[in-house]
Symmetry: C2
Subunit: 727 residues, 2 copies
Amino acid sequence: MDRPSATRSQRPTIDVDGRRRVVIEAVMPEIDAGRFPAKRAVGETVRVEADIFADGHDALAAVVKYKLLPARGEEVPPPHSWGGAGRSPAEGQRRRGRAAGEPPGGPSPGWIEVPMTPLINDRWQAEFPVTELGRYLFTIEGWVDHFETWSRQLAKRIQAGQDVAVELEVGARMIEEAASRATSSDGDSSRLRGLAKSLRTSPPHPAASSPSDRAALAAGSPSPASGEGKTSPASGEVKELMLRYADRSFATTYRREVEVVVEPVKARFSTWYELFPRSVGTFKDVERLLPEIAQMGFDVLYLPPIHPIGRSHRKGANNQSAKAGEPGSPWAIGSEEGGHKAVHPELGTLADFRHLVQAALEQGLDIALDIAFQCSPDHPYTREHPEWFKHRPDGSIQYAENPPKKYEDIYPFDFETEHWKELWQELLSIVLFWAEQGVRVFRVDNPHTKPFGFWEWLIGELKRLHPDAILLSEAFTRPRVMYRLAKVGFSQSYTYFAWRNTAWELYQYFTELAQPPIREFFRPNLWPNTPDILSEYLQAGGRPAFQARLILAATLGASYGIYGPAFELMESRAREQGSEEYLDSEKYQLRAWERDRTDSLRELVAIVNRIRHENPALQTDRGLRFHPTENDQLLAYSKSTPDNANVVLTVVNVDPHHVQRGMVNLPLDELGLDADRPYQAHELVSGARYLWNGPRNFVEINPHSMPGQIFRFRRRVRSEHDFEYFL
Amino acid sequence: MDRPSATRSQRPTIDVDGRRRVVIEAVMPEIDAGRFPAKRAVGETVRVEADIFADGHDALAAVVKYKLLPARGEEVPPPHSWGGAGRSPAEGQRRRGRAAGEPPGGPSPGWIEVPMTPLINDRWQAEFPVTELGRYLFTIEGWVDHFETWSRQLAKRIQAGQDVAVELEVGARMIEEAASRATSSDGDSSRLRGLAKSLRTSPPHPAASSPSDRAALAAGSPSPASGEGKTSPASGEVKELMLRYADRSFATTYRREVEVVVEPVKARFSTWYELFPRSVGTFKDVERLLPEIAQMGFDVLYLPPIHPIGRSHRKGANNQSAKAGEPGSPWAIGSEEGGHKAVHPELGTLADFRHLVQAALEQGLDIALDIAFQCSPDHPYTREHPEWFKHRPDGSIQYAENPPKKYEDIYPFDFETEHWKELWQELLSIVLFWAEQGVRVFRVDNPHTKPFGFWEWLIGELKRLHPDAILLSEAFTRPRVMYRLAKVGFSQSYTYFAWRNTAWELYQYFTELAQPPIREFFRPNLWPNTPDILSEYLQAGGRPAFQARLILAATLGASYGIYGPAFELMESRAREQGSEEYLDSEKYQLRAWERDRTDSLRELVAIVNRIRHENPALQTDRGLRFHPTENDQLLAYSKSTPDNANVVLTVVNVDPHHVQRGMVNLPLDELGLDADRPYQAHELVSGARYLWNGPRNFVEINPHSMPGQIFRFRRRVRSEHDFEYFL
């Protein structure tokens, strides 16, 4: 081996600030090392955790620093340099590409600091609230707390009866240094100087109680003189002053500023109803249906594309070639009557649509539009912008295909075109056009067939103008792709829920979704059915299957939706054996639904949605826990608020055919229930109340009466007369 | 809510390269998003994995690109820009702080590419070898492979009997484009042009077999004409040419260049013996002992500090105040006779030491020195550089303490001194001084009481001059701190092994250490005892305890060490009840050991070390698997080489008092053993051979004969005469 000469011509350089001894790592929530923001909804908190430690045995202090970025335009630079330990500026900042010299879009709110507290094993935490729509940044600053180290050691020295004279002088000097950092205008500086002085003013031998008493006063440590191990009343103030004027010149700031995107509450908690407006009639007819939909407890009404439909290669009933007069698929967008910014004339006018949006809002319903970036061969773009499509050697535009299958009624955009920038701008303008009509919720069709970078840009631009926009990603594809779409900005995502039907599958999948970091960016929206998915379970399971899937979707997911009236009318006929396509699918034809049929699940839907609205635990995907049932067909899980004030247990019999019995095993401690006292299990669908005892309780579920039970637990309290009440 | 106006004054900017559609994420091995290098030893491979995917359903291609950085000085810039998707240069590069304009230290080796292959679920992998000491970089490049997409789709079209005339033209044009990228000097360009031409030269209807045959030839897809689904012989060449001249203009390069530090083989696989030279006599006396130590199978001989020892507050036998004539603790470094660059006169001269180093190397032994950055009150530094120490208000230098305990014989350095840069330079010069005497292995005392940034800088500078240096971190502290020291550059680390004595504890701990990313940077070095640690298990367990801990250390860890002769002579007397300190510890006094005692474990040590040298599976910490034994006192685990050519199973009875029996359950498949045929279990300590059958086999271990068994598995093979042999 070639050993290089050991003679050095010059001293090596040192390009770090060697006195920044604190390390900050493993920060949560942080996604892909800060490449993507974490997501929150207005009113939530961000619980920040990090490993924070230093060499040696000194005490540390740390704070989370956070701020809201101005809603529009560019943020101003942070008030001071964040280049801890010689690092270059946070990656996140470069990513946002702040243009130099551009005027800030609003006042810089500055950083707000929250002290962190140690958990265990060098893990620290703090929480901060997010109260505004938009983007927050947070980072962490940590430093060696010499005063706290001194204080703890002093207590031990005094306990051991050591002479602390020199130590008191060490402390006095530290306090004087802090005093010199305190602003002279307020009284802090003189209070500190007074304290330093008092540490020096009497005989330092520990046998004399007074100095150690004073030391304890300064240090906030137990006073051996009082003999009770109590902290002296003044200690809190001293500690607080010394923390306020701590010497942070060698503090370490975490190398990145981590972004959190804050969206409307509906991004987290939403209840969707999908409906083909043309089956109802016009926008005006849909308007008449709004009260009924709102009364069922929905807050988003999602409409498949409402644009003119192409005629070339139009699809007819059951995906055959269309015969004359057939309406075609709404996803074959564009005809001579217009494209993505036009309304199908048979549904009404743009004014009618705007009216519908406003009428819906009055009922608490957001209209969600379908964003399907593709064209029929008759779309105006095909003539006006042929350069946005791929061309075949024979000059024709390349239609969609999945060889050997051909979809000649659809032309995909060519995102590799040289004119991609114009294409991106135009597609953004479509979303902005509908936002200008009052739409804030968008269901995006097949986002996984357009580049991720495109979505990241489009959603960023949309949210810059409309931070209250919510986008649902309709990507039924491989997990990495679905997660990436969520990372680049989709508020919610369709899931594999429709195909997870056994208790084990559901447990596995929802456990995965609840793991960090997935839970920080991927918000599931559960659909038991869609116009594309009539699952085998629903085809074969009858009424209990629909009921079970409804209860599962509504309690496993803070957001869920159904495609109706097919769902509540339990439409279960598939086009053919082995297919998940509906027979006579509304995708290709109009359907006249008998909405008032007596066997409709409408009432159950309303009950389940009322339960969701009354129980905050069901309005978030945090706090989900699965519980063993001793029966493979019984799935049990609870959701609870962080304070356990609201705890909801759901037990579902996933076998739609047979009665199932089992024992539900609950971790009473974690759920805030007392192991030694009975508690009430209030079944919210039926209204029945049971008195349960201990961690193991019997359940029996007959799917033919109701395949799922939703319990709210109520703890027993005693009144002044010793009557029992349950809260 | 304040909804901003929806009117935009200008089009939003697009600051990404929107046609780079491929995403590369979750790269392994990468530590803390590239903040720290992964570790390898010369001759190992780096298995790179990443999630690689794009929108849509196109085929992808990806390569790992790697290069060795020049051994000294600064690397030259990479041959072309790595700023994929508008990102700024890789973080890793900034961290190394290349000085602009500095001349490169050697020729740039350029990037070497290795094609990646898909595993499952968008996970891809490739491997590259590391053959040189120093630093490697790797990154990943991925792109949409339009030709492969075309080729796969063409096969399906042909299978479905479709007219492929237009498709053949599409392919011909792609091949022509590749031809235009091929260098004209070689024949690739004309070969490609010929191929494109042949795709066009006959009637394109699929009913005519020739064009589809030609298509298959071009595409490498099964030829329907031959009817056998075989790939045509030419296809490999076409694919390879099209990959070589692929259009990578929209390729995505991973945003970071990931560093791998490559260290000597001994960093991975080493066998340490610790010995107090003063108990032996002088360096010359130690030299006479070298053959015996080498014959026991050790390859590192670690000596506690060899420097002059302070006299002030000197410690005597059993940590009392020293009486006249007592030698003091070697860790109280420095006297008027010199400091960290001097040799204790009673051990010999610096020339004697250099002679010892060379004599040891001739026996295959590296001398490891102890780096203890602390001073006795008599160290020359205390007079020459008082500014490197903390001073108390009374003017005295602050001694070490852990209140209320005081260690007045030790002055720690003050790493917060204003003169920290000079201190760092001096401490580096100490290590370089000993490196210049031929020392390459260093055991660093209490690194966790010096700043992490200091170690990162020191190890970086040391390795820049001596890339063959190996540093062992002696930090017995909290897990995060130990891991961080490994991240900043220590080659090996002491562990909690000495306190993990039950089978469950050992399983848990070594499973944690084998997880990524820990295994990528933390190399455990297992010590059953040290001069500071005489564990309760060894105190109480007698001879079986020492044997069991030896076998565990030697087979669980690719690196392990013992402090001898205390270990092989089974010294088990503690200073007092509940203490892990040795009675009459060599830390404070000389000990005359009876090395040739008949009950010495010397022979077992030699056998175990021979087994380690003969079995490559034991020379790495990769490939460790634990196996159930149906007995809590029996721990079973195997290590195997990636090809399963060498599989070693160890079973240890951790109960030093009683015979234990159990069934060892082996995953035969993973170990490359045939479930249907017997295999030989060759017990390597005793030499006994057993014929085992199936996954479940009985073991019985009497700790009083030998508490551990080490089996090498040999598969049965048949000779031409049907005799049975085991390989």
